[in-house]
Symmetry: C2
Subunit: 360 residues, 2 copies
DNA sequence: TTGAAAGCGCTAACAG
DNA sequence: CTGTTAGCGCTTTCAA
């Protein structure tokens, strides 16, 4: 192992002081152009590599943001992380990543570890059962910016970037109603989570607006995985409580159901059961019929959240002005929601309905 | 902003020396059980949070590994990162992530930045045109372990975890031959990359073994994205050079082609054109017919690469014994490759053919 | 079992 | 424009 060369080594070799070397390396204006060149040349020649651990300690700035999500490999999150990384790279920030597996205790530990690493800011999509952010107090108390994205809970001191969940679910539901559904159900996840509460509200709002009956037994709560969705639809069919439309809160459950119906029943999507999802997974445009779904603009959401975070890192003054950005959604209309007897089938095309932005 | 409490503060409050506090906090045996308890209690009471920047500088160990991939959101990589994160978390390591967008210059910068951050090890899936690793010299010279995964190039001083690419492509090709394909083509990416060279070799080996003619015009090189695959199949059809089987090096191209054929031609998969892919994207089991594909066990590959890296971080002695681990693949047989006139169609089921492990 | 002292490599007043 | 000085907060000899 080669001995690492430090600014002191460079200083000695050039017969100047290490502080001058430091200035030269940092391109400070307070150093002679001539000296600067000599330092830079020597640094390159001897392969000097700055030690950021030291510099970070000294400046108490790590140039690192932490990203904590439930599941890294989930399509939505990996795309969001993509956006986050791009935004961070642009500003020369590092990204450290961890996943909670939706386990609150793990989230607590990770977040504490990130604090000990003195990250400059935190991007968090909390576990579904995170009801409050006392584990974030250490960040807030130390004025380290935090941005919640996608999933969130209300905390007066944290920035939030989230989808217009209520409106997105509302418009998916309304879309199904307009396409002739009379007996809709909502398939959702843990209703402790604000996003699912919002989506439920949107579902409800659309029913009520259409003068349709809403009751709690139209709402089914399951773990949001294909196998549970399949078990659910099997049960529903067995009990003969077949709806003519299902508003799902994610694509993988919707896809699981479509696949099950296709392979195991004579029920047809959309004519017998219309269906919508959330996320626009790649598979959703490939299945036949295509799955009508809400595009959450995951990449943009990630990038926006990261930019918001970086901005509050660099402009501490606006730290206090907490804000919530509500990202608009797009309803991607495909075959799974257009009942053919209405003569509305648009072939294999995806029709994109942009939604308006709503605050709150 | 609250003033951060340091070990010196704790020391002062307890009338002991900061070195004792440090020992207590690190659960050193060289501190009285009684003192240790007092320190720990006080630390908790006043909300002491260790500053890892300082500790890292002192110990020159960052407890961080760097992960560099071409595209974070690509299904294969996000799953691999999932596995990496899990392995790292188990060992209490942090993961810092960056993506190169397959741009070598960006890769160079990122890797250098990670060195300056003094990561303890690097997990890299290099750009397709990375032919040598001189940008990794700084790691090698300083004996910081590096593991290449999935993508790789031969370097006598770097560990590699990779798929048995040649064999995987060989068995996909042989599978198509066994299912009646007589006129096979290979659709691949940048042939500078070792993985694609290997897959091409597998394709070739299978043809030759079957006594079929191999020539270079059976091999088509495109950017590996659906839109390019579609442009390619359009062109091929126009020129009337229709093959009866296509061995693709990834699923997204295969899926693009299947979708195009289904929507724009009367050609049927698999009867007119059989097709195989690589990666087992979620969509591949949802499309009809299902896409026969090579499962690369991305999660396990990531986890294995991370464990190998962590192992060489912790046991420096085996740093010199470079090794290459070849991960076995599984051919997932679905409808896209089973021509029905042979009466072999197995319905919607996926048949999993495990492959053997091959060295080298 | 504890303390004193030194220093990881860098930056940032403050002087000159 | 450059040098001096003093740490950032921690760990780690060495000595007691």
């Amino acid at each position: 192992m080669k001995k690492k060369v430090t600014i002191h080594d460079l200083a000695r070799m050039l017969n100047i002081d290490s502080s001058t070397v430091s200035r030269a390396l940092n391109d400070s204006p307070r150093v002679g152009i001539e000296t600067k060149k000599r330092v830079l040349d020597l640094a390159k020649e001897v392969g000097y590599q700055r030690n950021l651990l030291a510099s970070n300690l000294r400046t108490s700035k790590s140039m690192t943001i932490g990203v904590v999500v439930p599941f890294i490999s989930r399509h939505f999150f990996s795309e969001a992380i993509d956006g986050i990384e791009q935004a961070a790279y642009e500003k020369n920030y590092r990204v450290i990543i961890a996943q909670t597996n939706d386990d609150f205790e793990k989230e607590r530990k990770i977040i504490n570890g990130m604090y000990m690493n003195r990250i400059d800011g935190l991007l968090l999509s909390p576990t579904l059962n995170t009801q409050s952010g006392t584990h974030l107090d250490v960040f807030i108390d130390n004025e380290i910016p935090v941005v919640l994205f996608d999933r969130y809970y209300d905390n007066a001191r944290i920035n939030i970037v989230r989808l217009e969940d209520r409106y997105a679910a509302y418009s998916a539901t309304r879309h199904l109603i307009e396409n002739g559904c009379l007996d809709l159900v909502h398939l959702t996840g843990n209703l402790d989570a604000a996003i699912y509460q919002q989506r439920l509200q949107g579902f409800k709002d659309a029913l009520i607006e259409a003068g349709m009956e809403f009751s709690k037994d139209r709402v089914y709560t399951i773990p949001l995985l294909p196998e549970h969705a399949v078990a659910w639809i099997e049960k529903i069919l067995k009990e003969n409580k077949i709806p003519d439309g299902i508003v799902c809160v994610n694509d993988v459950t919707a896809l699981g159901i479509m696949k099950y119906l296709d392979e195991n029943t004579s029920l047809k999507v959309p004519d017998d059961i219309a269906i919508t999802g959330f996320s626009n997974e790649p598979a959703s445009s490939i299945i036949k019929p295509g799955l009508t779904t809400v595009d959450q603009h995951s990449f943009e959401m990630g990038r926006m959240a990261a930019r918001m975070l970086l901005n509050s890192i660099e402009n501490k003054e606006d730290f206090l002005s907490r804000q919530t950005v509500v990202v608009k959604s797009s309803l991607l209309v495909r075959g799974s929601s257009i009942k053919s007897e209405l003569g509305l089938h648009k072939g294999g095309k995806t029709i994109r309905q942009e939604q308006g932005t709503i605050k709150g």
